[in-house]
């Protein structure tokens, strides 16, 4: 066994724990199951202790972390389930299938809770846009998300995309899904009731992903990954669509006691987790699992074949359950039953091959990893942008940013996604947050994904606070009150003290921002080992924020809606070029300190903006993020096809005013008569309000710094990504 546990990625200590827990040596199948369930990917052994500091509760949180997805109450008997997940390594091996099955997995997490999936978002990180590898991966990932999501009839309504050389070998493919349900339909991944049937629904089992996700996601990525290729999972969105409909019908008819999707570690994981959550045991007859090809018991246990679900059903409902599945053309097979005690017993043609306490599989070890502040920080933080020589032609500089890979329009991406199906999308991609109406009510949801990892690299604590604040700000600019968020934490190898320090600081930043802004964290995902050849990606926490718009008529987008409106800037602009996109694109540097964040001012700016929107004063709103206020103004002009003439009175250097990424700012438009009220609202919260000028004309003019035709800016923004990807 000695070589075997090592080969399976278990440590000697972990192996001894297993022997102690069992009171005997595990057999090969059992050992394989422990190795998967105790892998970083499934057990969160390095992150669990750190994540404990996140605030997860609020009066409206119906389900926090620990289930397949978080669930919040949005009133009127309705609830919203959402979660974000990573599919980084599989996507680096096979971008189309990796991204496609990523969508498949996160969507299952949502309908597993009893919710109908209503939207997906896809935060993506790629390497150098000039490299052929990036173009190949980009094309494959976008096509995979489109291929799978479009087929399901779930609109992909948002996301974000950054290009940075740090992701050259380790791209990030994070996916978020949101679902809606009546509060009563909430169901958990629990097995209950001795004698109840364990039913496997969906696709037949094959050798997909054997040693796949869990092993891939728990090891660094290098040449060896080539050998792992045959285990790639192939997605079948058609079967997934049938599963959604069948499961929602089963739940509506109240025929299920528990429902769990099969993800990493397949049947092993689904059975042990449902049994452990319900405090029961389970007996599985493995030969009953429908197979695509001949397989060993061990392979069946850990196969990651997609589009499968595990349901717990009372015997009296069995016939009806099988009937519903039959109607949808899905296979449904009883593979076992719930038993007394807490043992997971697995049989192969009557012979017992596994007998372990389910809870010991489901709750692996917990590590407190050593952390140490990495050395690079002093160096990058000591950089002072004021020593730089800035370009003279600021109009050209703005155009350069507009056509740069990180700031140009993402239209070519979202137009490949069906972002309209289900008839809920009332603010389309391209604004700050996407807005989804909730039919049958006056309400709507605003959703946004954010995470500028350059800030996090330069200051993990502050950078992660900014990610939370920015995500909330995007929701606010769209008229929503932020309610709760999910997240995906993409980091390097946690066994390295420098990486673990980044992780700890990032989570501390997230927790502090969440607590201050009163935003519970209801679900999330950790992806470690995003490294190749010893080099880690930037620490990349991604936030997925969900907000509620009480009256959908108050939804907001970024477009300057008409001529003759006052253009105002909420919030203060400081000399903060550190970590900016300007610094990166124009000077090729990722250095300095990220912009400051004063959470009190952030909250003040957000509530001012929301109040202004609710009172009908604010007619368009856009938060300022990468590229600063100049880029924000340009986006407002392009979105509405309306120019603006602005006079700025500032002590700052023009580049600083234009391109600093100071936080807690919104560009808004309003009618003249709304100004006094907005001034009062802002003043009461200590938020600066500066009127910059008026909308109108077909140019954006700012002092004698910027003078550009809206049509030209628009053309540059819109053509850039396609041109970059053509190479």
């Amino acid at each position: 066994m000695a070589e075997l546990y090592e080969e399976l990625g278990l440590t000697e200590g972990e192996y001894r724990d297993i022997v102690r827990l069992l009171g005997r040596e595990p057999n090969k199948v059992e050992l394989g199951m422990y190795s998967l369930m105790w892998s970083e990917h499934c057990s969160y052994k390095s992150s669990r202790a750190v994540l404990a500091q996140l605030p997860t509760r609020a009066s409206y949180v119906l389900q926090g972390p620990g289930e397949n997805a978080g669930v919040i109450d949005i009133g009127g008997g309705l609830a919203v389930a959402f979660k974000m997940e990573s599919h980084n390594h599989p996507s680096a091996v096979e971008p189309y299938q990796g991204a496609a099955t990523g969508i498949g997995g996160i969507v299952r997490d949502i309908f597993t809770m009893g919710a109908r999936p209503i939207a997906c978002l896809d935060p993506l990180r790629f390497g150098d846009p000039a490299s052929p590898r990036t173009r190949y991966l980009f094309g494959g990932v976008i096509a995979g998300i489109a291929g799978y999501g479009n087929c399901l009839g779930i609109p992909t309504v948002g996301g974000d995309i950054y290009f940075d050389p740090c992701y050259e070998e380790n791209i990030l493919v994070n996916v978020m899904c949101i679902g809606i349900m009546s509060k009563e339909s909430l169901i958990r991944g629990q097995a209950t009731g001795v004698g109840n049937a364990v039913v496997l629904l969906g696709n037949r089992t094959g050798r997909d992903g054997i040693g796949g996700a869990s092993i891939l996601a728990s090891q660094e990525f290098d040449e060896k990954s080539q050998e792992k290729r045959p285990s790639v999972q192939v997605g079948d969105p058609f079967t997934e669509k049938l599963l959604i409909e069948a499961c929602l019908e089963l739940l509506e008819k109240k025929l299920l006691l528990g429902l769990q999707d099969l993800g990493a570690a397949g049947i092993s994981c689904a059975c042990s987790e449902t049994a452990a959550r319900g405090g029961v045991g389970m007996r599985i007859d493995l030969e009953k699992v429908p197979l695509r090809e001949e397989m060993e018991p061990f392979e069946i246990m850990i196969s990651e074949s997609q589009e499968r679900m595990l349901a717990i059903v009372e015997p009296r409902n069995l016939e009806e359950v099988l009937g519903v599945c039959g109607k949808w053309g899905l296979s449904a097979v009883v593979i076992g039953e719930v038993t007394e005690g807490d043992a997971l017993k697995i049989y192969w043609h009557g012979e017992k091959v596994v007998d372990v306490p389910a809870s010991t599989l489901a709750s692996g070890p917990v590590y407190d990893r050593p952390a140490e502040r990495p050395d690079y920080l002093d160096e990058v933080q000591s950089f002072d942008p004021s020593t730089l020589r800035h370009p003279e032609d600021l109009s050209q500089t703005l155009l350069r940013l507009a056509g740069g890979p990180n700031l140009c329009s993402r239209r070519m991406v979202w137009e490949r996604y069906d972002h309209m199906v289900q008839l809920n999308t009332v603010v389309y991609p391209g604004s700050d947050a996407a807005v989804l109406r909730i039919k049958g009510t006056s309400k709507a949801l605003a959703v946004s994904c954010d995470g500028n990892s350059r800030y996090v690299y330069l200051d993990p604590y502050l950078g992660t606070q900014i990610a939370v604040a920015e995500s909330a700000r995007n929701v606010v600019a769209s008229g929503g009150v932020p309610m709760a968020f999910t997240n995906c934490l993409n980091f390097g190898n946690p066994e390295k003290p420098g990486i673990f320090w980044q992780f700890r600081e990032a989570v501390r930043g997230m927790a502090d921002a969440a607590r201050y802004l009163e935003l519970p964290v209801v679900s999330g995902n950790v992806s470690f080992y995003n490294e190749s050849f010893g080099a880690a990606i930037y620490p990349t926490p991604v936030i997925g924020m969900v907000g509620l718009i009480g009256n959908a008529a108050h939804r907001m987008d970024i477009a300057f809606p008409q001529e003759g409106l006052a253009v105002a800037l909420l919030g203060e602009t400081l000399d903060e070029l550190g970590g900016s996109e300007y610094l990166w694109l124009v000077h090729g540097m990722a250095a300095g300190r990220p912009p400051r964040l004063d959470l009190r001012l952030e909250k003040g700016a957000q509530t001012t903006c929301i109040e202004g929107i609710r009172r009908g004063i604010i007619l368009s709103a856009h938060d300022c993020s990468e590229g600063g206020v100049a880029v924000a103004l340009m986006e407002c002009c392009c979105a509405g096809g309306v120019g603006a003439r602005l006079e700025v009175d500032t002590e700052l250097k023009p580049v600083s005013w234009l391109f600093s990424e100071s936080q807690s700012r919104f560009v808004v438009t309003l009618r003249e008569e709304g100004l006094p009220t907005l001034r009062e609202l802002a003043k009461a919260r200590n938020v600066q309000l500066e009127v910059l000028g008026r909308t109108g004309g077909d140019r954006l003019v700012i002092n004698d710094w910027i003078d550009l035709e809206v049509a030209e800016m628009d053309r540059v923004r819109e053509e850039a990504l396609e041109r970059i990807m053509r190479g």
Binding site: R229, V234, F238
Partner: protein, 80 residues
């Protein structure tokens, strides 16, 4: 020179299109069918190369573009 390339899903890799087609054939009464797999049939013309060169070049095209070696097998036929 006429060349044909046959690309098919690797053994063991899920082939949803094949499965759906099998189901449809059965429901149309073609009960004798037991397994369907759907791949690509690519034909092309090559100019100014002999059969041996063609073989090597097409092999390379398959590896680089026409097939996805992670999930697909391919074979090449030169018709001359």
């Amino acid at each position: 020179m006429k060349v044909s390339v046959f690309v098919s899903p690797k053994q063991g890799v899920l082939d949803p299109a094949g499965q759906a087609t099998l189901g449809s054939l059965k429901s149309l009464g073609f009960d004798e069918v037991s397994d369907v797999r759907i791949g690509k049939y690519i034909t092309m013309r090559l100019e100014g190369v002999d059969a041996e060169q063609a073989e090597a070049r097409v092999q390379e095209m398959c590896e680089r573009l026409l097939a996805n070696p992670i999930i697909e097998d391919f074979k090449v036929e030169i018709e001359g």
